[in-house]
Amino acid sequence: MLAEVLLLARKDLRIERRAKVALGQVAPLTLLIVVVFAFALDANAPLLEIGAGGLYWVAVLYGGTLLTQRAFELETEGGNFDDFRMSPIKVHSLFLGKSLSLFIQICALELVLTPAVLLLYDVQVTDWLLLIAAGVAGAVAFSVCGVLWGVMAAGLRVRSTLLPLLLIPVLAPVLLAGSRAFETALGIRADAGWSWTSLMFVIAAVHTVVGLAAFGFLLEEN
């Protein structure tokens, strides 16, 4: 199964390397969001500092949703969805392979966004380990939720508007947990940052189990 997962993820990442959607389009767009917030709240620097964690995760949420849409566009454009359904690759591998490639792209997005937030919002990291753990936990949760909900919308004509409507409420707890964990990592609040990070891992684990169980059914019913 691992070989199939890696095969699918490698294919998606190779396409991404050529198309440069994640780094060439989505990352600049999310950077722009961070910059726009910086301009909008400039008059109130302390507010910007307090909101840094939340604004970071809003940008990740937006970028992650776009990347999820893109991940399924690859499989639906040019009639590819039939091939995706006909694929001899096992459905569990399809789910995990898609999740892995999305995870790597969201991590890349986070790597671009983190220094931008630190610089523009003038915040200092007090706990790097927590910051990294929360970033990874958020990326895992985003990717598995994205693939699970992405496949539901993939076969529908209204997928481009439906997916954010489905995905954003589901990811709201990740947004909340990520924001709180980052605020602790940035020394803004002395809160249970690790508990919030653990919550994101739990959300990711639950969606992974549901995804492994339901992905084949969802793929067929599209």
């Binding site: 095969l7 050529r18 040019g78 009639g79 590819n80 039939d82 006909m86």
Partner: protein, 217 residues
Amino acid sequence: MSAVVKFENVVAVAGSFPVLTGVDITVQEGEIVLLQGKNGAGKTSLLRACAGLIRINDGSAQVFGFDMRINRQAPRRYIGLLGHENNLYRDLWAIEHVEFRAVAGGGQRGDAAEALARVGLASRLWSVPISALSAGQRRKVAIASLIVNRPRLWLLDEPHSALDAVSRADLNAILKDAADSGATVIFASHEGVLSEELSSRVVTLRGGQVVEDSSAR
């Protein structure tokens, strides 16, 4: 010879529209069956039903002995489907795409070059993004992607479309070779003489039903 496809009074509904309205057809191993009919006659729907991509609402449908009303995924590993669309990843190179399909289907990466050569795609185009290829060249990549998986049942929807005369003849030779080695081919086409030359049997559909079958003559 054994029946690869056995449909009896098959009814399939897409949304609220009946696309197959009582299809009876049995296709034996090694046959090359041409599906004919006007637009909307049910050719594409019959191919997709054989591939298990649409739900069978009534009747009895078996592909490779699998009951398509109970488990329509099971026979897919033996099936190669070429639809109207080419099902290609536009940003991959031609060789990368066929290699991916080969490995995904349990074959070898090295099979890709052989398949691309077989469909007559010039080797200088193998390392070109699919989006930069012409319609005919893309069709060849799609056909090569089927070849590498060595399907036992080929389901082809207008397979000759966008191909030039030489490539059409090449495709016919590929399909004849496949049938000679025991595979079964079912294809829908509006190409008159070219398709009839290839086929061992012609089935005509109208209104989602088989209205004429040359094997019954």
